[in-house]
Symmetry: none
């Protein structure tokens, strides 16, 4: 079974947008054992779109498009599919009703142009879109499929996990794909590649290495008739990897640093508070965005003017003896945050995002303090990069260190 | 003059690599006034490669490939071009000598497989590669060109700026491209499309509409022999747009909501402090990430447990009378934030990110309060979407409203 991915939108051809949907879809199709034969990008032009979709329909079992489902006159994916299939688009009353209810919810009248988002052709069913107004299309004929999805990556990802992946899995012959992702932090991609080089040769399981914002991910993909056999193929590889780089593996599969922290806190019935200078609220924001994050995080105090740290409850002696950018200051900030919000655990983050400050610390230095019960811990990191990247990296490391501290802590 | 970009490599089809070369090349071609008609990705397969390059050769003046110039047996770009052109690859002694000297410099013997990196076909010249062993190919016949570049982005970028851009510029008639982006918030993409539909017809300037996290962007692109003429083409279109949707345009070109707020505060010599419940620190984080943001933002208090608002200095009467999720609470939070950090301007954000809360407000409701001098203002928004999207949208609206308040405020 082979697939073809078509990313649609003139802005892609103008380089205004880097297409990440195609790589996401290719990865996910791989997990289903579906090979991608072609990928293409095409602008918002009916003839070129129809030509591209026609070619894909003629040579690929599965065609997946992203983009061009918007309401405007240059959103032409539906029209192009209708041309290729030789069918006519018709407005579906139930879809129209749903669409109007979305706009009603926004307290705005629905522009007439949106009506085409409520259309189908006879061979098409809708794929629900819980994150936008444009439902997807699932077009199936003669055992072949065209799946049309919107452009925004989060809508593509939701549609994929919500329905598309399951429907495609049902179509592929009896082969089970099992993937296992090991997430590391602290070792470079090149370093891991060297340490694990013998493991990258084999085809089944195949091992891939990917640089991500939260570190380097190692993904093993095994294919077998049964899930059990596939898992049996992966186990020795995972064991081998853990033997070599076990200490730097912080999580697996869908785990994120914030999801780990939230579940550890909830298991232990603990609440969290933070004081942030370097990360300026991004730590609190990332925790709040995690599922149930707002149930464990009581609050955060963001202090960008270090002269105010003492007024905000940070131990003045620690600040005077070690300066506001130090491990001791981070620990004092952690204790102050915990006390101010009456939380069980406190976190403090200070550091230097750029060269601007007069402190003796190199740019990209982060100090993170943790207050658990009556004990405090601290840790540090250096990320010599752009200030906003420094903040993001620091947030990730704080979350990973906090998870480590919580696992180690006796508090239950 | 139109161009087609082909990214080559099976790893691209497996989603293991996000192709950034194509977007880079498309942007650069645009600056030369060369329109990209198609982009495609194809694996390391001679037949598919030849088919794809053949199609491009037949319909595009300029074909640019990246990838497949390596030494291994699955690097087949040269071979495919030779097939399409019906010409034979021949080893060039001078290229071979150069290649061997590179390996000698590395103190390693040259693997035999690298010899093909020293080949050309009669219609091809080399494009020097100062960053790798693989020279590019410049193939020109019948006024059309195929340019073959390696895969690594830094090699592509060096070849582009080193030689390719100059040679292409010499081929295209004198054109200057001027773009103008108008950024709106508060009107849906469909609504704008409807209100401005007559403007989307013309080719020069062409008008594009793009949904972005900070609202809907309208981009006009004009092509002319001189920059002055190109600007003259855009001016009446911009004037027309401003007449119709002027109130919803908050910025142009590279401006962001946060960059506007920071520069307005700096112009007026004002500092800012915020208290965030709904946005959980993301407002502070986004301001801190903006250039000089940490110079105007003194701090932010993130309070996720509304029971703590009063302890954190928010007027208890406002909370009791109107509840913690209300315009009045947002204004009281703004005043409290300003006082606590001794700032000139205070901002407060409260709301409901999901259905979980017991308040009478629909999910996705945000209230934003502003305290400037001795006056307070408030505003609200509703975004019925995923909680993390609600926070992001709220941050954007807060920043846009704050910019409005600052422009209007008498404070200097």
């Amino acid at each position: 079974m082979n697939a073809e991915i078509i990313a649609i939108g003139t802005e892609l051809l103008m380089g205004e947008l880097v297409d990440t949907n195609s790589a996401f879809l290719a990865t996910e199709l791989g997990k289903l054992g579906i090979r991608v034969g072609w990928m293409s990008k095409v602008g918002d032009d009916l003839d070129r779109l129809a030509e591209t979709i026609e070619r894909s329909w003629s040579r690929s079992d599965i065609t997946i498009t992203s983009g061009g489902l918007g309401p405007t006159s240059d959103d032409l994916t539906r029209e192009s599919i209708a041309v290729v299939m030789g069918e006519t688009m018709e407005v579906q009353p139930d879809l129209l009703e749903h669409l109007e209810s979305i706009f009603a919810g926004r307290g705005a009248p629905m522009p007439a142009t949106n009506i085409k988002q409520a259309t189908l052709i006879p061979s098409a069913e809708t794929v629900p879109n819980t994150m936008g107004t444009a439902p997807g299309w699932w077009v199936e004929r003669e055992g072949r499929v065209i799946i049309a999805m919107p452009g925004p990556p989060r809508e593509v990802q939701q549609m994929w996990s919500g329905e598309v992946a399951a429907r495609l899995r049902a179509m592929v012959p009896d082969v089970t794909i099992v993937t296992r992702t090991l997430k590391t932090f602290g070792i470079s991609e090149g370093g891991l590649d060297e340490m694990l080089s013998p493991l990258f040769g084999p085809e089944n399981p195949s091992l891939g290495i990917y640089a991500k914002p939260d570190g380097i991910h190692l993904r093993a993909i095994a294919t077998s008739p049964t899930e059990q056999e596939a898992r049996a193929l992966i186990e020795p590889v995972e064991a081998h990897i853990r033997n070599i780089v076990g200490d730097s593996i912080w999580g697996v599969d869908d785990e994120t640093p914030e999801s780990q922290v939230v579940s550890l806190l909830m298991e232990r019935g603990l609440t969290l508070a933070s004081m942030e200078s370097l990360t300026a609220g991004l730590l609190a924001g990332r925790l709040a965005d995690a599922t149930s994050g707002d149930r464990v995080l009581k609050g955060s105090l963001v202090v960008l003017d270090s002269g105010q740290l003492e007024d905000q409850g940070v131990d003045g002696e620690a600040l005077r003896m070690h300066g506001p950018i130090s491990a001791e200051a981070a620990e004092a900030m952690a204790s102050a945050a915990r006390d101010r919000f009456g939380a069980d655990v406190g976190v403090g983050v200070t550091g230097v995002s750029d060269g601007a400050t007069g402190s003796g610390n190199p740019p990209g230095t982060a100090y993170m303090g943790f207050a658990v019960g009556d004990r405090t811990f601290s840790s540090s990191g250096t990320y010599p990069t752009h200030p906003s990247r420094v903040r993001a990296r620091a947030v990730t490391q704080v979350l990973l260190e906090l998870a480590r501290v919580l696992r180690a802590s006796a508090l239950q």
